[in-house]
Subunit: 416 residues, 2 copies
């Protein structure tokens, strides 16, 4: 079959399933989630065989050790997937919540939380995203179409099969969770054009994936883009606190999107602060502006590219600035609107910074690493949205719903 | 200057102005809105001269009488524009509202309402949209770029000039409200690609405009699309109520997007209901399915096209269905996800209908004409969103904002 036709039919099937999901009660969805958790537990061998196949291919095609590590599903990671499904089952159901009730002109007006419809999730490498996305979309009453990276094809395919067996055993349509059985990039291009069946596209991944999806899509997209996170050390900062926060933000888990990538330091404290910081961040490679390199001789010069970079590694760009405004302008130019923070004792400056920095999360005297759905108490997250519309920052199960207005009248008419 | 360069520079100017607007206090924005209302009041001759020019051109290029009427700005319509700006000034300010506060791990976590940034509004004919969009975007702290229809070019240009004079007199950047001084369609195509400066595109208008914007845009779009509104008369309906509601929904103001376009009638009541309705809707042209035409002999047959049509006129498509499921399937196929309703005494069916019909507004025993920002108590509306994400249904000034998370710590670090 042509890829275009295949994708159109898959999207139609997903839409049909999502129609059924619209009015499925919470208890029924949770029964399906429990079944899925049980089936995953009973299918460990099958999962690991498929994963071994992906790993074999990955090795022979020369994937890096880091990529292979992200791809691997050991017992601990399978445990974590099962645990995640059980946790999602235990969440409060987001569908049907009445957000507001009014009686504007005699009739009852309700604003109700409802499923979005069909969500296409396009992602790379880690196979656990398959399970998280499937469980979160089911919980929120949405059909989902999964298009994982080709390097994890066999693992994702088997995980989806198991999910569909769980759905069937709980009498829900198997097509509630669909999997794109094509490694061709063309399948992504057709998927993001199914505006008659698909309501939302969530791409998670690198710049080239996101750009391709945005360019091709005729459907709303919520981007889960990189995190080029900044901390600005103000002249009024508590420098001891600043050193600890910078260390935590950079070192605690450098491979995550909320880790620190660029440090901005006010010139009035740079000569005191930078040596203190250098002492604590011994294992971090610095790339500095000219003024930074006067303090740390021998440090590499930071390039334009470094300021745009998400290093995801023990590398930190450092720039001395003359004012908070200069710091904010730097973040506006080079940032990714993810998470950016200030260290200062001055409440007014903190407020100004939080208003002017156009990021999903702004931290004041705190580590950028706190920007996380788990830490924020949202439960499992589908990701961290770097877009502004609909959902911004850590995106939980509620953000996979939309609203509907229900007018309950008794023959009410419009008069004026 | 090339159109592309012109649009890029305009978008940059708007972005710069929107940066300043982010932290402007409510009182300052309201002062500007009052100044704008005053300047409009003092510029009636200038507005009417420009409008006369548009009307002259419209007549000589053969615009329909209905189009010319939409274009015309008489004293009453200018009064209404001024009134609208004053009302928007009096609204509660949406920016800075703290939507939620938590202390998940010792630090304070706030979810705060903030402006979106720069909004491009693309619209047709009615010049009052220029003033409404400018005032609503200013109120919500957003920069706006206005691209009105070429038929209203002179009116829109003069109205924007007056707004900018008002902004200047209140010491706010003139570029808070920008106007695309180009009638070329190419300017729209470039405008919707300024993803580095523009955050949201709102197209209001016909199908071809919306399709062109969605196809070209690399920026999130919230569509304000047509309303193909349905009422389903259930077998358990109060038929007297049904007649009154259908009459109100169709006749009270047929040219609006929330007016009724297609009526679906359960077969068990069609022989009683349709003659009652025909009596009351004497001035309405019916287009019926086969079974309808057995009751109303001489009525035109409804075509596929009629079921998709937004008549905006005293025309009604009528179809007899065998069940509520068939009615819901009809709405799913032909509807525009705007406003659809049911007339029934059966609470269970009403609930099922409201869950399964995928529209922004579902009415139960009430006129579709109630689907309106004013009736719903939202104040002035930027329009009625037929999209599901971010804002759905009547879209008020709050829907022109997004959220930001602010973490207020005291050296808080991520531990796990």
């Amino acid at each position: 079959m042509e890829i275009r036709t295949y994708i159109e039919q898959l999207a139609q099937r997903s839409k049909k399933a999502s129609f059924a999901l619209r009015s499925v009660p919470a208890i029924h969805k949770n029964r399906a989630l429990s079944a899925i958790a049980g089936f995953l537990d009973g299918s460990r061998n099958r999962i690991q065989e498929a994963n071994a196949e992906d790993l074999r291919r990955g090795k022979s095609s020369g994937l890096s050790a880091a990529m292979l590590d992200r791809l691997a599903l050991d017992t601990k990671r399978i445990d974590a997937m099962i645990q995640s499904v059980r946790e999602i089952a235990a969440f409060e159901d987001p569908v049907g919540e009445v957000i507001g009730v009014k009686r504007p002109q005699g009739f009852i007006l309700e604003k109700v939380r409802v499923p979005i419809g069909v969500i296409a999730v396009i992602y790379e490498s880690r196979p656990n995203v398959t399970i998280d996305a499937a469980a979160l979309c089911l919980k929120s009453g949405n059909g989902v179409i999964l298009r994982g990276g080709s390097e994890a094809y066999e693992s994702n395919r088997v995980l989806t099969e198991i999910v569909r067996e769980g759905l069937e055993s709980a009498d829900l349509p198997q097509d509630s969770v669909c999997f794109v059985e094509s490694k061709a990039h063309e399948s992504v291009n057709w998927l993001v054009k199914q505006e008659n069946s698909v309501d939302l596209v969530i791409p998670r991944g690198g710049e080239s994936l996101i750009r391709a999806v945005v360019r091709e899509a005729t459907i709303p997209v919520i981007k889960h883009y990189k995190g080029v996170c900044h901390l600005y050390i103000d002249e009024d900062a508590d420098l001891d606190m600043a050193v600890n926060v910078v260390h935590n933000a950079k070192v605690q888990r450098p491979g995550t999107c909320n880790a620190l990538e660029t440090l901005l330091v006010h010139v009035n404290v740079s000569e005191r602060f930078l040596p203190m910081m250098g002492e604590k961040l011994k294992d971090v490679e610095l790339r500095g502006c000219e003024r930074t390199r006067k303090i740390f001789t021998g440090v590499k010069a930071a390039t334009e590219e470094d300021y745009y970079a998400e290093f995801l590694d023990l590398i930190l760009a450092v720039r001395v600035v003359d004012s908070m405004d200069e710091a904010i302008a730097h973040i506006e130019t080079y940032g990714s609107k993810h998470t950016d923070g200030i260290i200062t004792r001055d409440v007014k400056k903190a407020q100004k910074f939080s208003e002017l920095v156009d990021s999903a999360v702004v931290t004041i005297n705190a580590s950028t690493r706190l920007s996380d759905g788990g830490v924020f108490g949202l439960g499992a997250e589908i990701g961290i949205s770097t877009d502004k519309l609909h959902a911004r920052g850590p995106m939980g199960v509620k953000d996979l719903t939309c609203v509907k207005w229900v007018v309950r009248g008794n023959g009410h008419l419009r008069i004026l």
